[in-house]
């Protein structure tokens, strides 16, 4: 247990833990924000009260996730100072400014209009309300833009140079539009959208399987599916472009992603490793299945590579990422889920075109609906895996090729970090379990179809459907009101 006395390792573990946990929540809210814009828009256009009720139902998940997202995002910002002070000082000129841009452009916008979006239905007119919903979605997605800009710059630092250990920016726009920036933002944008669409689709499929409000949820499933038709293939394409960029800009990461120990010179074909057991000590794969010549097709759509693929052995052990197995399998997990999503989308679209997803017969598609339920958590796993590839693969650098992780960490007593790390672990575990509990309760309770529709005097239920399942009050009699 040597690492328990190493504050750098502990700080890394703490950052990884808090980042992995924090990310779970904004992933849903950024994507779902766009979904809410869509359903509210359809409602305003068609005046069909179902879509209003969709907006209200799905925004319950929005607010649950948003609260935890905010609460766990604040520690992320402060950690740069508390645990990574030398890094903050060295890159504050650029990185710090971008963190400030996120707060002012994105976070404040989302926070200020969220109140109106959630509680303002009766207080502002529909146009202002719709504008608030749009601004909340814009704010959330601008967060993605700025955070991914900051992270991309850590991957491909551009626009300036290190002078006496401090990064001095010569050209801000070059730094913002660093080589990774555009693809990274798009890749994450589609990732949040895709994750949300499959969560919404998965929950809808669950209701359909349960024969509860099948008609109502067939609508949300189809909206999610229609959006996925565009998003799922685009994501695979952007993912491919991102991989190509890693190949050009971060050869150590590519070698780790592919568990390539030996270099392949330019002009030669390279095998693609499908599954392997990488062995860091022996600097080889103990076991592997490869597809001959496939790496050239994956990276450049041709058999012979025009650039060399450099193997890990080209670098000293201290200059290449560790945990090759983690990076290798995280990468394969992400890709596998991406293709599963695309396949599920294709299959569902086919059934839709064949008229099998109509409200009357959709519940007969039992296997398809089960696949959607299965897909609901997969987006999260793909996003986390992608970030593991991105950030563990960047090691041993915080600023790729320029500032090492060991030089970035604050000099702290290991005991302090151990206490904070354990506190985060305990608190976040409790939060996770509680959030799952309340999330499943929202699902079990189902949508409230008796909400009055703004602007109408309707008193009877807007839609005639089966009422929600009765959830007995489990409290002692004295506590029941």
């Amino acid at each position: 247990m040597e690492f328990l006395s190493d504050s750098v390792v502990l700080s890394r573990m703490q950052f990884a833990l808090t980042a992995i946990f924090h990310m779970l929540w904004p992933v849903l809210t950024t994507g779902m924000g766009i979904y809410l814009v869509i359903v509210e828009g359809i409602w305003l256009k068609t005046k069909n009260p179902d879509y209003y009720l969709h907006a209200r139902f799905w925004s319950k998940f929005y607010v649950l996730n948003f609260g935890i997202g905010v609460a766990t995002g604040i520690p992320m910002e402060f950690q740069f100072g508390t645990n990574w002070a030398p890094f903050s000082e060295a890159v504050g000129n650029f990185f710090g400014s971008v963190i400030g841009f996120e707060a002012s452009w994105a976070f404040m916008l989302e926070a200020a209009f969220l109140g109106i979006m959630l509680f303002g239905w009766e207080r502002v007119n529909p146009a202002i309300h719709y504008l608030s919903t749009i601004l909340v979605a814009v704010g959330a997605n601008l967060s993605t833009v700025w955070i991914l800009t900051a992270n991309s710059w850590m991957q491909t630092p551009a626009g300036g140079e290190l002078v006496d250990g401090k990064f001095i920016v010569h050209d801000y726009f070059q730094a913002i539009l660093n080589p990774f920036m555009v693809n990274s933002v798009l890749h994450m944008f589609f990732a949040t959208l895709e994750t949300s669409l499959f969560v919404i689709g998965g929950i809808s499929a669950w209701y359909i399987l349960q024969q509860r409000h099948a008609e109502f949820f067939a609508k949300s499933l189809k909206i999610a599916l229609a959006a996925a038709v565009a998003v799922a293939p685009l994501q695979i394409y952007i993912g491919h472009l991102s991989g190509e960029q890693v190949y050009h800009y971060q050869p150590t990461k590519l070698a780790a992603m592919e568990a390539q120990w030996n270099s392949t010179p330019a002009g030669q074909p390279a095998d693609w490793s499908l599954l392997a057991i990488p062995n860091e000590k022996a600097e080889k794969n103990d076991w592997e299945i490869t597809i001959p010549n496939a790496l050239g097709y994956i990276l450049e759509f041709k058999q012979n590579l025009s650039e060399p693929v450099r193997g890990l052995k080209e670098w000293k052990a201290s200059d290449r990422p560790h945990m090759i197995g983690l990076i290798y399998y995280a990468f394969r997990t992400m890709i596998g889920i991406g293709f599963f999503f695309a396949g599920l989308m294709l299959l569902s679209t086919l059934q839709w075109l064949r008229g099998k997803l109509a409200a009357t017969n959709i519940s007969q598609q039992r296997w398809l609906m089960r696949a959607w339920v299965l897909a609901a958590p997969l987006g999260y796993i793909a996003v986390e895996s992608g970030w593991i590839v991105r950030c563990v693969g960047r090691q041993p650098w915080t600023l790729y090729g320029q500032i090492r992780t060991v030089d970035s960490a604050s000099q702290l007593p290991a005991s302090n970090v151990l206490v904070s790390l354990s506190s985060f672990a305990v608190v976040y575990t409790i939060l996770f379990i509680t959030a799952m509990y309340f999330g499943s309760r929202i699902i079990r309770t189902g949508p409230n179809l008796e909400l009055p529709i703004p602007g109408t005097e309707v008193t009877k239920p807007a839609v005639d459907t089966t009422p929600g399942e009765f959830v007995p009050d489990e409290r002692p009699v004295e506590a029941q009101q």
């Binding site: 990185f95 400030g100 452009w105």
Partner: protein, 337 residues
């Protein structure tokens, strides 16, 4: 170029002071309401207290995130050094925020409200406590080497004066929280908070008197600053004005005015803030590192003025707009949900 290196850090000092002030004022009443909820007699009341904040707590807290981001970009050295030195108070604050933030959502969904009510109150208290200790530590000074890097120890932030600062800040938050509730509520609840406002006004005053009197004795670095011409006159006027404001506040509470107490309290906050700012300025890591030494590159400061500075009026506008949308008294049913 010389003048730029002098001028730009000052601009950013003022912008950050504005963000911090807006934070202290807005999240101040927010945290104050949370702390008061711990003393609330029943569940319905606690529900109303939380409802009065449900649409604004997040925007209020964002001013701190904005302040943090701005400090990180404009004074990277100060960001790293101060946060590094305040590891424990910052962590205490952050955990307070976590419990408080999730309590808003979880309470709504929960059938057993008691636990989340407590998490909300205790989280608010813990967050305020962390901030109080942080403020106390910054006033006392942070031990750094000549390059501005922290060389003190883990528990430097803890001392008798910092305990006093922390307690006074909590009282200040309770005061502004009480006057906010006087404004936003009616009936019995309002009556209760007329009382808590009076108590908090006295305790805050006592704390402030102690801090004002003891500052020149305890903080060596502040002493020189306080007795410097012509600042000494300002420092002589501030406490007098402060006492006058407290007197006005107590009067308005006695007359059962609804909005005036909140306004008087804000003015008290402004005054204390100016006082603290003048003691600290031009240091950003007291007592050694000035804003000029800790500032980012001038080009960064200019870019940040373009990207953040011009958004300040816009941000103020839409924050104000949502207060206008949700104006009026809070009722048990919340804002129509």
């Amino acid at each position: 170029m010389e003048t730029l290196q002098y001028f730009l850090p000052q601009v950013w000092f003022v912008i950050l002071a504005l963000f911090l002030f807006l934070y202290v004022m807005l999240d101040g009443f927010d945290l104050g309401v949370g702390i008061l909820s711990l003393t609330s007699s029943d569940d319905e009341r606690r529900g109303i207290l939380m409802t009065s904040l449900s649409n604004i707590w997040d925007a209020n807290e964002t001013w701190l995130v904005l302040m943090g981001g701005g400090l990180f970009g404009a004074f990277p050295l100060a960001y790293g050094t101060i946060l590094n030195a305040l590891y424990i108070p910052i962590l205490v604050m952050v955990f307070g925020f976590i419990f408080r933030g999730v309590a808003f959502e979880f309470r709504e969904l929960s059938r057993r409200k008691l636990f989340w009510n407590f998490a909300f109150g205790a989280g608010s208290f813990t967050a305020a406590l962390g901030q109080g200790f942080a403020l106390g530590a910054v006033l006392k000074g942070i031990k750094v080497d000549e390059t501005g890097h922290f060389i003190g120890s883990t528990w430097d932030w803890f001392s008798l004066p910092s305990v006093l600062v922390a307690l006074t800040l909590i009282q200040g938050y309770v005061l502004i929280g009480s006057t906010y509730l006087v404004w936003k509520t009616t009936g019995e609840l309002q009556e209760t908070h007329y009382k808590t406002a009076k108590i908090a006004a006295w305790t805050t005053l006592i704390g402030a008197v102690f801090i004002t009197v003891s500052t020149p004795f305890i903080y060596e670095n502040a002493r020189a600053r306080l007795f410097q011409q012509p600042l000494v006159y300002i420092f002589a006027v501030i406490p007098i004005l402060g006492v006058w404001l407290v007197w006005q506040l107590l009067n308005s509470l006695n007359r059962k005015e609804e909005r005036a107490p909140f306004v008087w309290t804000i003015l008290l906050f402004v005054l204390s803030f100016i006082g603290l700012g003048l003691v600290v300025f031009p240091y950003i890591i007291p007592p050694q590192i000035t804003i000029y030494e800790a500032a980012a590159d001038p080009s960064s400061l200019v870019i940040m003025i373009i990207f953040i500075g011009f958004l300040i009026p816009v941000m103020l506008f839409y924050n104000l707009y949502q207060y206008i949308v949700f104006r009026g008294k809070v009722t048990g049913n919340g804002y129509g949900e």
